[in-house]
Symmetry: C2
Subunit: 251 residues, 2 copies
DNA sequence: CGAAAAAGCTAATCCATGTTAAATATAATC
DNA sequence: GATTATATTTAACATGGATTAGCTTTTTCG
């Protein structure tokens, strides 16, 4: 994907959160982006460091995680092309978690300070970015529910449903089929399970005829049943553009 | 607590997130607040409904939660006097979770639409509110780690440490002693455990001499050990005011 | 105050998921 | 294309926390 093409994707994404004027879009295009490729497993931000750069994820996948005192990892979210990395840390003094690449990623990085100024000077952009972070939060909350109150088969089913919809929204899934470049160990770290048990559950979902897998591709065969087993409701993804987000429709 | 006194507390809180001018503060004071008391267990917002009102929590405690398909509840956060309820839902089209009172609460409610206009017209206020929601998010992330990767004694120890620090910041705890108006069932819903097991663990923490309890009061006797067992690090609470949050220090 | 409801506590048993270990398959690297 | 590293799969066994049930204490409310 070419750099400006990726940028347009991000612009479209932001516009669904609130209307932007031509000046807003120009200001985004005028940001001092650095286009580069980050290797798999490389870090954009590390816990404990002050956040210096923010990135638009143009291609590839990334994830947020923390490591506990006894060395166990918990992944808190997975990010897909078109999304911001990492607004969550960028407006705070110290990063409280790691942001790491899942695959090789093309990104457009920009200094956090420039982004802060942008949000300050262009309130509509600030608003749209704020809403982006609020949707991140909605997903965090659902993940708390997932690891806190669902059993293993529900957790994994839920994760697979979430990925299906988000990838579809990103134009990377069709007919409930997608590539997700995660190992079973990483799925375990998303769901608070062990890799061994993730394997058992994935196999079971296959035996039940709910999904089919080949390498890293997933095909959801019985969407309705998977959704039901995963206790999956799309509401928290806030996929519908607009809503009473802008002032005009808010009264 | 008198109404304006509560409002000042919220103003002070916002100011720690970024400097506000006199005009900003006046705009907040001029908001069409309605002061009222909400009964224990009453709802401020319900999942699935469009958010209509936002509130400043002046006295009392509240919490966010969702209920899974088979009726289990997961609490996603607990809110203390001085905090906003509920910025998380207020800038989205539909509430994706419930916000409910834990105790009788004095609140200052304001229409979501008025708050949206405020954020639009006073960018510094918008910025400060945004940062409030980002800190909410940081706590959500830590809770994912807590329920996903810590065992029961760590989870509960972690929760007790978090409450101690947040209550101290709110001026409601001293000498590692505080009142937390939660039943063991609600603690279970915070930690993804059962009430029976929460009871076992609390008793065990008492036997180990780490805490003392009487009714709803908690006293942390050995802070260092509790913090260690709970794998608790304060970073995610972002308690230090300032940081490179404001533009001046951002270059 | 006295009754009823809610919350706290305890014990016995069970099971979903973890642990450990190894074999196989796939992907990366020279 | 052989070699090595990484990921997947399976099996046997262990266990942390769930479940169930009953009892006790505290709180609520008439």
């Amino acid at each position: 994907m070419s750099a400006p093409e990726g940028l347009d994707r991000v612009l479209r994404r932001l516009e669904t959160r609130g209307p932007l004027g031509a000046d807003d879009k120009d200001a985004i295009r005028a940001l001092p982006f650095t286009y580069r490729t980050l290797e798999p497993a490389s870090y954009l931000v590390r816990e404990g460091e002050p956040p210096e750069i923010c990135a638009l994820l143009l291609t590839g996948f990334a994830y947020r995680h923390k490591v506990t005192g006894n060395g166990e990892r918990q992944i808190m979210s997975v990010h897909m092309p078109g999304e911001f990395l990492d607004l969550q840390n960028s407006f705070l003094g110290v990063a409280d978690h790691n942001v790491q690449m899942l695959t090789r990623c093309d990104v457009a990085t920009v200094a956090v300070a420039a982004l802060r100024r942008l949000a300050e000077e262009y309130p509509k952009i600030g608003r749209a970015m704020w809403i982006e972070t609020l949707i991140d939060s909605a997903i965090f909350r659902e993940w708390i529910v997932n690891v806190g109150r669902r059993d293993s088969i529900s957790r994994i089913s839920h994760l697979l449903c979430e990925f299906a919809l988000r990838l579809e929204a990103a134009g990377l899934a069709r007919d409930n089929r997608y590539e997700i470049p995660m190992t079973q160990e990483q799925i375990a770290d998303c769901t608070g399970l062990t890799p061994v048990h993730v394997n058992r559950v994935l196999k079971e979902l296959g035996r039940m005829g709910l999904i089919e897998r080949a390498k890293r591709s997933v095909s959801i065969v019985q969407w309705d049943r998977l959704q039901q087993i995963g206790d999956f409701n799309t509401r928290y993804l806030h996929l519908e553009a607009g809503g009473p987000t802008n002032l005009a429709s808010a009264r």
